[in-house]
């Protein structure tokens, strides 16, 4: 029976190995974006769609600045860089932001509707009945020093309203000037040419990142070889994501190595047997393998964060193996079958309680956390199966006798809990902890701002600042969402919005914005413009203007084209490619913001405008983290509530409570102690506490299940378990990523407390020998 089970388990493990191997050959799909760890915002599918559309277009954008002291070399360098980037396939380069060809198409779109188009300044002038100023401006251009770019325009448009409208279209990056087809700027004594592009795939896909960075490095190296002194700056989510992913992969490698090396060293030092090491590695290895296979089979991909936490799985999976292995020192268990039977109840109950913890984690609506939970739960189950089914068959180890000094030390640890002096000392420590904890609890506060949890690459941040200094404000990650019953209604709302945003631009809270209505005025606005032009400009001044320009009087009765310019015309012409990014669906428009510095002022401005809201993906992300921090704390309570009946059923009221106390105390004291050192509670603290509770229950159960005689053995196993857990989880406290750091630190403190308090679980049994 057991033999059959062991063989079936072997077959399953081999199948997992084959599956993981097959996946590895095809390239395991690694995810690195934080958003993939988030629940989809199902309450507002339109907002989610807009968020996806805007953030995917924003996150795919890449900006390059190619600079040289000599204009020609800068231009040549920019051409060479854009050619190389485009040829690599990693980027599609936006050619000639506003060259003559593009301008011609823009002109062709708007020219037939010129009678309904006004620049903001001209419109304001006509509304204030200052038509004469508009007329004078046209004359000064016709007669003045600078002159006109197209004289035929003047015959058709004697007030030059059309060029004024065209030159005030809020194209992005319009702060840069077009120098012979290239967007250029002068700064730091150099000519800078702007090259923009889109990365050719998901910027959070590691393979896309690697291709993008390689293409950039190659393009820059080639261009610099041609022109020494060429400077290139780059900006884009893909580069930030690559640096972050690389840092976390490097970190994961170091942490995994340290955890593995530390664990191996520990086992070899204590047991002085390689065979013990093999057994432990077997349990951990099958745990990782089966956990990974199951995660890939269920999710189709794995997130870097899951991988990072997955390395920590070692620390827990080895617990069961260690419980079994301390049996080598046990004189009462000279054979494998008895070694197992002595610990089976303890590790089974421990596994049950830990799985309850992970199942609670699985309930968290975070896709990435589900990955971690599945990975860990199945991995732990697999490690458990290997211990129970294989260990007795593979165990050839005779009883070990060198453990006496270690076990003596463990026995001494227990005596602390059994002598009156020791109990008083423990009680004093508990009281001190309770006081410190109470003090800490009063200082408990939370901070869910995701920006304080990110650790963005500093050189890239510096470069971002430099790029901003040269090209002015860049597109803000925040944007305004306009929702209305129809496109026309949305355009009207945007016209109202533009009036309210203008003072913010004057105040510097915002440096610019792009509404669809700026490119296609609402039909009402177009009709109003026609009236303004007719009544305030042409009726009083047209005859005079034509005379001043030496033109014959306008032929009377000439029919003007008064068809309305529609959004579909503009989108269909492709003259303003940028516009399609702003139109999400009929009546659902996006207003892009540039250089937003005061989001609160903007929000206040928008408050009274129906159908308009500021979308702040970062702020929304922080709000979500806050919501889920609360949820995680509830899940913690849920886990405790689910585990408690199991323990009460097994141990009865008094002992059940004592078994529960160490882990609950660890969970309450840890955030309190962290608050004392000023750390604000985050979602990641909360998730760490879920683990602390599960592991803490494990230790207490091992102690409670232990017979009096086996106590030193149990203590040794728990100590080794706590040390390996510290090696794997606690080491995360050294991570540079704040979220990982706080997770590690919380586990480190929590596990230490859980280990120190675990013997309390055996207290109820101590009096009855």
């Amino acid at each position: 029976m057991r033999r059959t089970a062991a063989l079936i388990w072997l077959a399953l493990v081999c199948l997992s190995a084959g599956y993981v191997g097959y996946q590895a050959v095809n390239g395991i799909a690694l995810r690195t974006d934080l958003t993939a760890l988030l629940p989809r915002d199902e309450r507002d599918p339109i907002l989610q769609k807009v968020n996806d559309a805007v953030s995917s277009s924003l996150s795919r954008r890449a900006v390059f600045l190619v600079g040289h002291a000599e204009r020609a070399k800068a231009r040549q360098g920019a051409a060479s860089v854009s050619q190389a980037l485009a040829a690599s396939g990693a980027f599609s380069i936006e050619r000639d932001a506003l060259n003559a060809e593009r301008l011609k198409r823009v002109g062709a779109l708007y020219w037939p509707h010129r009678g309904a188009l006004l620049s903001n300044a001209d419109r304001a002038a006509l509304q204030a009945d200052q038509g004469e100023a508009v007329a004078t401006r046209a004359l000064s251009q016709a007669y003045g020093f600078v002159g006109l770019s197209d004289s035929r325009l003047l015959v058709e448009d004697p007030f030059l309203l059309f060029p004024a409208f065209m030159s005030h279209l809020p194209f992005p990056m319009s702060r840069l000037s077009v120098d012979d087809g290239m967007l250029s700027a002068h700064a730091q004594g150099m000519t800078w040419i702007l090259v923009t592009g889109l990365v050719g795939g998901d910027p959070y896909d590691l393979a896309v990142q690697e291709a993008a960075v390689a293409a950039y490095d190659t393009a820059v190296a080639a261009a610099q070889a041609q022109a020494p002194g060429l400077a290139v700056k780059h900006l884009g989510a893909v580069f930030f994501a690559f640096q972050a992913a690389r840092a976390s992969l490097d970190e994961a490698r170091i942490l995994a190595f340290t955890a593995a090396a530390g664990t191996i060293l520990l086992v070899v030092c204590v047991f002085r047997r390689l065979s013990v090491l093999w057994l432990n590695l077997l349990a951990v290895g099958t745990g990782l393998l089966v956990g990974l296979a199951a995660s890939l089979a269920i999710f189709g991909e794995i997130h870097v964060a899951s991988l990072l936490f997955g390395t920590s799985l070692i620390g827990i999976a080895v617990d069961y193996a260690l419980q079994y292995s301390v049996g080598f020192f046990d004189g009462d268990a000279p054979d494998p079958a008895r070694r197992l039977s002595h610990v089976l109840s303890g590790i089974s109950l421990g596994l049950l309680c830990t799985l309850i913890g992970y199942i609670a984690l699985m309930l968290a609506p975070f896709p990435g956390l589900r990955q971690i939970a599945v990975f860990s739960a199945i991995g732990l189950g697999a490690a458990f199966a290997s211990v129970v089914l294989w260990f007795p068959r593979l165990d050839r180890t005779p009883m070990l006798h060198h453990g006496r000094p270690v076990l003596g030390a463990m026995a001494a640890l227990w005596r602390v809990w059994e002598t009156p002096v020791g109990r008083r000392a423990v009680a004093a420590i508990l009281v001190a902890l309770a006081i410190a904890g109470t003090a800490g609890l009063t200082r408990l506060h939370a901070n869910d701002d995701v920006r304080s949890m990110q650790s963005l690459s500093k050189p890239l941040l510096r470069e971002q600042e430099e790029v901003r200094d040269i090209i002015g404000a860049t597109v803000s990650p925040q944007f305004i969402l306009v929702r209305a019953g129809s496109d026309d209604a949305a355009l009207r709302t945007e016209e109202e919005l533009a009036v309210r945003l203008a003072p913010l631009v004057t105040d510097g809270a915002l440096s610019g914005f792009q509404t669809p209505a700026a490119f296609v005025p609402s039909p009402e606005r177009q009709a109003e413009n026609r009236r303004l032009i007719r009544d305030r400009l042409e009726a009083p001044f047209l005859a005079r203007q034509r005379a001043a320009l030496g033109l014959a009087p306008a032929p009377p009765g000439v029919e003007r084209d008064d068809t309305v310019l529609t959004l579909d015309d503009a989108l269909g012409s492709g003259a303003v490619p940028f516009l399609s990014q702003l139109i999400i669906a009929p009546g659902v428009h996006v207003v892009m913001l540039e250089g937003l510095t005061d989001a609160d002022a903007l929000r206040a401005t928008l408050a009274s405008l129906p159908g308009v809201r500021l979308v702040d993906p970062t702020g929304d992300f922080s709000a979500l983290l806050s919501k889920y921090r609360h949820q995680a704390l509830w899940q913690l309570a849920l886990t405790a509530a689910l585990v408690a009946p199991v323990l009460l059923w097994r141990y009865g009221w008094r002992r059940g409570v004592l078994v529960l106390v160490p882990s609950v105390a660890a969970v309450v004291l840890t955030p309190a102690l962290l608050a004392l050192i000023g750390q604000a509670m985050t979602f990641f603290h909360a998730m760490a506490l879920v683990l602390v509770l599960a592991i803490g229950v494990d230790y207490a159960v091992f102690c409670a299940e232990s017979s009096h005689a086996r106590r030193p053995l149990t203590m040794l196993a728990i100590l080794l378990a706590a040390m390996t857990t510290t090696l794997s989880f606690g080491l995360l406290a050294f991570s540079r990523a704040h979220a990982v750091h706080v997770f590690g630190l919380t586990v480190l403190i929590g596990i230490t407390l859980a280990f120190l308090l675990a013997p309390l679980a055996a207290a109820g049994r101590a009096r009855k020998p």
Binding site: T136, Y143, V146, S151, G550
Partner: protein, 209 residues
Amino acid sequence: MKRLLSILLAALLSAAAPAWAADGTVTAGILKPGEALRGKFLQERRLQGFDAPLKTEGSYLLSPASGLLWRAEKPFAVVTMINGDGLVQLANGQETLRLPAARLPFLSRLFAVFEGALLGDWRKLSDQFTVAQSGNERDWTLALTPLKNGDAEVMPISRINVSGGRFVQKVEIVRVNGDSDRITFSDQTVVQDKPTPDEIQLFSKVKTP
């Protein structure tokens, strides 16, 4: 805006009216340090689709220290100031155009040409034009033709003819689309480079709006 180049060029040529060197080559640089040039101009702008040229009369001041002040008086008061900071145009005292040099790379290139001409360095011009000259010291002409690889976007000019004696007297700029400007200069004198307070105030507008 494109016309800026051509006219500016005309203006600077007038200032830097080439002296006729003994070896038959044109040299330049008639202004000594601390000197400026004042004069009057008549600009006749012939535009496609217009029967009569648009005529502008006015005066100018070219100050190496402050820049160029191009003051049209008839039929409209349009004042244009250009210097290293950029260009500002006022009509009836109201600003109708502002081009900061920082946003106009070609403007700064123009100033390189400007400087070159003031210093008599014609090589700066030959970067963009083929220069053909004829006549003698008292009556000379220069025919400037943009180089094929020149910057057609910035300079849609088919040719520039300049003629003069001690000073430039006439500049004709023919554009690719057939429009042309003819500027005739008169009453040109070399003066001390001391703009009036009014002129200083106008120049100061280029720097601050």
